[in-house]
Subunit: 222 residues, 2 copies
């Protein structure tokens, strides 16, 4: 792996684990066993690393939210979106933890994030339109717009919510099961609009994403 990629991976790991504020470029260099000078050869400062990590997050998210144009959307696609969103929330959890702070001194990130938000909204609209065409959802245009915005807010605010409310455990550690519980909240957001197979499978989906306090039952096939 190239040094540049190693720096990004180690940064992501440390940011996620400790929170971005507690991690300096020196920590990152030390964690890789390279000199700070070597790190600065690749990135001028921490803001550049954060910006680059955001670009990867963005690419992954926008890639995930592409709807295949050559066939109708299926229920399996729908699960795929949920799993992808969950994966992204977990993999880049430092981003959602403290976004306003990350953006405050990082104008390129600020501009890019705002463009990203608009793109996600647009792709979300397209996905719901396609889900409606497949008979998996039924909602009016204003309902879809509000739904997508609410989903966006839950996705981006779920980790701050966990950290501030302490509602699913007092300790500061965020584990993947707690992030998964955020998907349950999104599931219930769209529940009233589900139709067909999506509605039939709702109880199964609730069990899949809602089982935090109880150990999840062994499940091999979806």
């Amino acid at each position: 792996m190239k040094t540049r990629d190693k720096i990004l991976l180690k940064s992501l790991e440390l940011f996620n684990e400790l929170g971005e504020r507690k991690v300096t470029t020196n920590h990152i260099a030390a964690g890789l066993g390279i000199s700070p000078g070597n790190l600065y050869y690749h990135f001028r400062n921490k803001e550049e690393i954060i910006f680059e990590l955001f670009c990867r997050y963005e690419q992954q998210t926008l890639g995930l939210l592409m709807a295949p144009e050559d066939r109708p959307l299926t229920y399996a696609d729908k699960i795929g979106y949920f799993e992808g969103i969950l994966g992204n929330m977990w993999d880049y959890r430092f981003l959602h933890r403290d976004l306003e702070h990350l953006m405050a001194d990082n104008l390129p990130l600020q501009e890019r994030y705002r463009l990203f938000a608009l793109q996600v909204m647009g792709q979300g609209q397209r996905i719901y339109q396609r889900l409606a065409e497949s008979g998996l959802i039924e909602a009016r245009a204003d309902e879809v717009t509000a739904l997508i915005l609410n989903i966006w807010i839950i996705v981006t605010s779920w980790i701050p919510f966990l950290l501030t409310s302490g509602m699913f455990g007092q300790e500061a550690a965020i584990n993947r099961d707690l992030v998964k519980r955020g998907i349950y909240q999104i599931l219930l957001l769209e529940a009233p609009y589900l139709r067909g197979e999506a509605l039939d499978k709702l109880p199964e989906m609730k069990a899949r994403y809602g089982g935090v306090a109880e150990p999840a039952p062994a499940q091999k096939s979806a």
Copy 2:
């Protein structure tokens, strides 16, 4: 007005206007034309001021979310909850802007906030139960629980959402109309569960809280 109350009011004003991070106790004292020593006589540090402001916010919120026990809940009560939530979001917007940061070095606030979150959830449950008894809402227990949690997240995350996404205007200034738009999002969260008068009045409520881009039509009576 007592000096202590004046300090709290001026702090709230400056925190809301500039963001808490940019305001020091010296700014607050200067804004009131009192000496820093006089301020320190009442509050040992900024954290104590923030804690006291939070207690006022808490008291107002919990007072607002009391359901009258001597009569059924009405549609007018329902509007009252929305208006009260909106007022609190606006009056204490600095709290929602950067809560994790405010709580990070303020253990008393952290503990109190978590207790508050649980109390709000409990009162929310009670309100929805009473609204169901009045025929204004129909939802299963798990739907109500998820709904209240989602409302909580929208209320507490709406201002960070505005600031980071730039979706309703690129400038950093948060105005009351933008906060009002958050109530619209909550309205659409519960829309699928509304019944009776609450359902009949949904279009009117949408117009009341959704009209951000367009100038709101003159409306004398609700």
